[in-house]
């Protein structure tokens, strides 16, 4: 306790130096917390957007192959699957079915490949909450032959609400078909997921692919607790196989990334594919990895700068206080005690700086969230959102404070050791 008191007094005595170093530490802590908040915010936005736009928490999708080389993302007899799900998944909150397709959309102004999501808009619970329609209405999807697309797609195809586009795709049997669609709504972009996806009524998707009423693209399960995803996926894998369904081996990728593999396999008929929401958006994971890498690199670089600063400042302090150390040692203070004293100073400095930085980071993130700042398109792709969203939780704050304090303590070990090594006689004779 005495060591801590001495350390605290020393910090107060050298107020200017403490403030300078403390500010630098607070700056690093604040930046780390903000970057963690950005990473968490992106992850949360991704989960919210992905699980409404393109995937459930768990999906029962699959492929139907009329011939070995011709696969379609189709699940037949989905009503029986719905019954199976309701019987075997007590964790279920709600379930929706979505048609899946991949087609070429052509307008008078351009063309692009699009992923078609066939929806029953009245059965969708959260889709309206995620889609921010800037033109037209989501209700347009109640009418067959309408399409909801995103701003960037509309720009590329040079269309507005009321314009006509043609989608062209081969049916399950490989026969070319087309469908004329009217643009019924245009929604704000939501990152990578809105780059390719468009929504059409399920009935229109069936018309394009000539599917029966009991066929869909995927049964999307939404659970009460998203943490149950793996458990439910594994259970369904077993129970569906037991019920006689052909189930594909686990392949943690989005359905449209599997055509090549599925086409290479020799089977025909129906096979189910069980995926989680993370599998279906695995192609976007690079954004989170990049964000985490950026956080790591920036924090490391700042820590190195601050670390060198701390070592340097402490070395100067030790030099200034050499005679004081010599006197303390002559009075009987052991080397270990000297080391602990300097270490305690560093720990206190690190802790105070980190706490101050965390508080500043929290305030700044709250301000940024409140400002609802719109980010440029390139950043939208990265963040999966059109606005900046930072999510700072207790865990991130505790981690930041502990990490920064720990790093500062480790860095200060060297100068503290130098201080402890000083010879009392030489130190007392030192003229500083």
């Amino acid at each position: 306790m005495q060591t801590w008191l001495i350390a605290w007094r020393n910090l107060l005595q050298h107020g200017k130096r403490t403030l300078l170093l403390g500010s630098a530490i607070a700056g690093v802590a604040m930046l780390l917390l903000l970057l963690l908040g950005l990473s968490n915010g992106t992850r949360e936005t991704m989960l919210r957007s992905a699980t409404t736009l393109s995937t459930g928490h768990v999906n029962i999708g699959g492929f139907y192959k009329a011939t070995a080389g011709q696969s379609a993302p189709v699940v037949t007899k989905y009503k029986e699957l719905l019954e199976h799900v309701r019987k075997n998944v007590p964790e279920l909150d709600f379930v929706v079915t979505r048609g899946r397709g991949w087609a070429k959309a052509v307008s008078a102004g351009g063309s692009q490949q699009v992923g078609l999501a066939g929806v029953d808009i009245d059965a969708e619970r959260d889709l309206r909450k995620v889609l921010v329609v800037t033109s037209g209405s989501v209700d347009a999807l109640r009418t067959p032959g309408m399409v909801l697309m995103f701003e960037e797609q509309a720009k590329k195809l040079e269309v507005k609400v009321g314009d006509l586009i043609t989608v062209s795709a081969p049916t399950v049997r490989g026969i070319n078909n087309t469908l004329d669609l009217t643009v019924g709504a245009i929604a704000q972009d939501v990152g990578l997921l809105s780059k390719f996806n468009v929504f059409i009524p399920a009935q229109s998707l069936r018309q394009l692919y000539r599917l029966n009423e009991d066929a869909t693209g995927a049964v999307q399960l939404y659970l009460k607790d998203v943490k149950d995803v793996s458990k439910v996926q594994e259970r369904l894998r077993l129970t569906l196989a037991e019920a006689g369904y052909g189930v594909m081996d686990n392949d943690p990728r989005a359905f449209f990334q599997k055509f090549e593999v599925v086409n290479r396999e020799d089977w025909t008929g129906q096979k189910l594919d069980l995926t989680t929401w993370e599998d279906e958006i695995s192609f976007t994971k690079w954004t989170l990895t990049a964000l985490d890498a950026l956080t790591f690199i920036l924090t490391l670089a700042l820590l190195v700068v601050v670390g060198i600063g701390i070592m340097n400042t402490m070395a100067i302090a030790i030099r200034e206080r050499t005679r004081e150390i010599g006197t303390l040692r002559a009075m009987g203070m052991q080397r270990g005690q000297v080391l602990r004293m300097f270490l305690a100073e560093a720990v206190l400095l690190g802790l105070c700086g980190a706490v101050a930085g965390a508080v500043a980071g929290l305030l700044l993130s709250a301000t940024l969230n409140a400002l609802n700042i719109h980010v440029p398109l390139a950043v939208q792709l990265f963040l999966m959102s059109d606005t900046l969203h930072l999510a700072i939780h207790g865990g991130a704050i505790a981690f930041t404070v502990a990490f920064i304090t720990g790093c500062i303590s480790v860095i200060s070990l060297v100068p503290s050791w130098w201080a402890a090594r000083l010879n009392p006689v030489t130190a007392m004779q030192h003229v500083g």
Partner: protein, 258 residues
């Protein structure tokens, strides 16, 4: 005098009237069978082709390819030789499966029989043996003219249970030469998807068939959905001499791309 003039005029019109006379279902069937037979070789086939692809907002791409066929075994291979970036890429049909090979990755991918070849407006059927009579039932739409040519216009509908890329095809067949001059393909929805023109045909004598084999020297494909896209295929040389026995194998394609 007037009477003689009228008779002369009637006589002059006779061939045209005869040409316009509708063909019976049997004659239509024979006509379609003849279209297949004229192009059928039965033995091996090797052709050097150039594919020129035009797409909206993209620069034109010209590819050189060798097309190999062994019609007796229903085998087909398309091997790209130019430009450098495309050289070694190829398609191989074996046992009703169409495979594509990319030397860059060294991977074979099974493709659908009806997909575009190398992203152009051409399809496997454009390079393959003609099978119109096997795949479609034809009806006669009447005689008409296509430019300066008098043609038979036919509508072909896919036979029950036969999977084809386009369920409805319209053909314009030159009455004089018997060559297809124009072809239009329609989607299930009835929308026109692609128009093809065959302005030049050539024949080469086949030892296997002991008769001439006809091939289109020039094929022009126009995408009717994306109007700005088109592909021209020129057949430079056709050789009907026997090919290597082991040519239609994955190993052969891989060896050529090394």
């Amino acid at each position: 005098m007037i009477h003689r003039t009228l008779v002369a005029a009637a006589l002059a019109l006779l061939p045209a009237l005869a040409a316009a006379a509708p063909l019976s279902p049997e004659e239509v069937k024979n006509l379609v069978a003849a279209l297949d037979d004229r192009q059928r070789n039965g033995g091996d086939y090797r052709a050097l082709m150039y594919l020129e692809q035009k797409e909206k907002d993209k620069s034109d791409v010209v590819r050189e390819a060798m097309v190999y066929r062994r019609d007796g075994d229903d085998k087909l291979m398309i091997l790209f030789t130019k430009p450098k970036g495309e050289a070694g890429k190829g398609y191989l049909r074996m046992d009703k499966n169409l495979w594509s090979y990319d030397p860059g990755t060294g991977k074979w991918e099974r493709r659908t029989e009806r997909e575009r070849i190398a992203g152009t407006d051409s399809r496997r059927q454009d390079f393959d043996e003609s099978r119109l009579a096997d795949e479609y039932d034809a009806t006669y739409d009447g005689g008409s003219t296509l430019g300066k040519f008098k043609v038979h216009a036919l509508t072909l509908k896919a036979k029950e249970g036969v999977d084809v890329a386009y369920p409805v095809v319209k053909l314009w067949v030159d009455q004089e030469s018997g060559n297809i001059l124009k072809r239009q393909e329609f989607a299930l929805s009835g929308r026109l998807m692609r128009t093809a023109y065959y302005p030049r045909w050539k024949k080469v004598f086949s030892e296997t068939k002991k008769a001439d084999v006809w091939f289109p020297e020039e094929m022009r494909f126009f995408d009717e959905v994306e109007k700005a896209n088109s592909t021209v295929i020129l057949t430079k040389t056709v050789d009907l001499r026997p090919l290597e026995a082991n040519q239609f194998t994955k190993a052969w394609v891989e060896s050529k791309s090394r």
